[in-house]
Amino acid sequence: MNGLKRALSRIPWTYVGKRLMIAVPTLLVIVTLAFFMMRLAPGSPFSAEGRQSPQALAALEAQYGLDKPMWQQYTSYLGGVLQGDFGPSLKTKDKTVAEMIGDGLPISMTLGFSAMLIALIVGGAIGIFAGLKQNTAADYGAMGFAMVGISIPNYVTGPILALIFGVWLAWLPPGGLDFYTGHMTVATMTLPVLTLSLPYIAIISRLMRASMIETLRSNHIRTARGKGLSEREVIFRHALPQALLPLISFVGPATAGVVTGSLVIERIFTLPGVGSYFVQGALDRDFTLVMGVVILFATLIILLNLIADILYAVLDPKVRYE
């Protein structure tokens, strides 16, 4: 109870307030930029639907209010968003953007969080191990592996893994949802999550190694050793808690990266997540759908970065945000 109180007292409320104040104009800039880029792009969401007469096209545009002046469209869209209404999808008939995101988000979230969790555990373990064994063969091996992991983009590992395990060996489905249930299962998730997490395992292990090495050199570790504590206690009670700190500040930006990664992963493994909606929506000029996804991801990234900063301040008493 006391610990919780102390933790709460460390939250830099003014800083959080300031950050939230910046978040509002940031989101507004994002919405505005995305809106006008999407609306000024040539092409119409309805132009691909076969040979329509100009009258029919005009009628469709009028139905969705696309014939009004641009600023009027902008203000009415913004007004809708403020009330939580993201409008209908222009391409997928009978579905609102909110419904589509509701369909796709669980898939993207499951992929993203599983990948992040695996990356943190595996990458953290490799990094700690390499840091403890600095400049040994094991260290070089682990870091060589990490370098390869950073250098292969996931749209390369994805297809290759799908080819080897999905097609040649046929151990796992090479893509798509479960054939019978139409949901994601452990089997259908394995390859996408593995592909998504590999580069992050690599980055986190490098980060963790550097942080571990730096911590092991610090004075309080020398003190702990000088007191005659066992090596195990020195590492787990004194070194690890401090060495883990930089990971927290990495999780925010990394999640943004995972989001970006999901664009590709969902395309490679043909999973109907939010990322795949975005690319298809942009190509189809389904601008309400694109805007919805942009707003969703921008909010997510801003929030995660803020949470990471708060956690950092709570865990590391040296940090002071001014």
Partner: protein, 300 residues
């Protein structure tokens, strides 16, 4: 002061040696040359660049040449060392042209980000005060944009255009550069030699140009070498989702995308560009790492 006194007592030989000194860059070069991974990477990368630039000139085919052999396996007679693709185009030539495109995008977009980032960061850092506040808040706001979405939107809005891809990627990559340079500038600004320059009447512009910029070049050089692979990845990502350069031009990302669609019949069409990309990125990353260790050896 004591140092000078001691030096005067020594003979002139050692005095000269002491005066010759070694700059940060001399030291860094010595350390970099000793780094085997970085040196091997430089040689391999040099070869790759050479092949990408010179190779297509001496190749017996043109990008527009179509062979009657479609989807053929690698063979030396007829001369198709990596086979042909679905349209009958020579894959080896496409690979060289693709590599050239990826490297070009990598270097040019990084240069764009370097120029914008350094100017912005140094100006904000040196001016300080409200100008710094405004300039860095702008960076913060752009930083929060999910930039990959904006690159996609840009490409969708203005069409697939190579110049646009350079600009778009360069425009999102400058932010970190600006932050690094600003931080360094702020740290340097309070140092005595800057104060001395100001006292001597050097103009603000010249202080930034002559005294601050040369001192921030270390971290910037490291960041630049690590930005090039990021940019190459970003471009090939765009190409992979079908928003990259137009045919018949190609890039490693487009080749990987095409190879992926055809991997069950002809896996080498995926493996060849994938391997080329991996080697290129590995080299760039090793050079970047080597440079960082050479300029900032405290982590070794």
């Amino acid at each position: 002061m004591t140092g000078t006194v001691l030096d005067l007592n020594r003979n002139t030989e050692t005095l000269k040696a002491a005066i010759a000194g070694r700059s940060l860059w001399d030291d860094a070069r010595t350390r970099l040359v000793r780094n085997k991974a970085a040196m091997v990477s430089m040689i391999v990368l040099g070869l790759l660049v050479l092949v990408a630039i010179v190779g297509p000139m001496f190749w017996p085919y043109q990008l527009t040449d179509l062979s009657t052999l479609r989807n053929s396996p690698p063979s030396l007679a007829p001369f198709h060392p990596l086979g042909t693709d679905l349209q009958g185009r020579d894959l080896a030539l496409r690979l060289m042209v693709g590599l050239r495109m990826s490297l070009l995008v990598g270097f040019v977009a990084t240069l764009v980000s370097l120029v914008i980032g350094v100017t912005w960061g140094a100006t904000a850092g040196y001016l300080g005060g409200w100008a710094d506040q405004i300039m860095m808040r702008i960076v913060d706001v752009i930083y929060a944009l999910p930039f990959i979405f904006f690159v996609i939107l840009l490409v969708v809005a203005f069409g697939r255009n190579i110049i646009l891809i350079f600009l778009a990627i360069g425009a999102v990559e400058w932010l970190t550069m600006a932050r690094i340079v600003r931080g360094q500038t702020l740290a340097l600004k309070g140092r005595e030699f800057i104060e001395a320059a100001r006292a001597a009447g050097v103009s603000r512009f010249n202080i930034v140009r002559r005294h601050i910029l040369p001192n921030v070049m270390g971290p910037v050089a490291v960041f630049v070498t690590l930005t090039i692979p990021t940019v190459i990845l970003l471009e090939s990502f765009l190409s992979f989702i079908g928003l990259g350069v137009n045919e018949p031009l190609t890039s490693l990302g487009s080749l990987i995308a095409i190879g992926k669609d055809n991997m069950e019949q002809a896996p080498h069409q995926l493996f060849a560009p994938a391997l080329t990309m991996m080697v290129t990125l590995l080299c760039l990353n090793f050079i970047g790492d080597g440079l960082r260790d050479a300029l900032d050896p405290k982590d070794r």
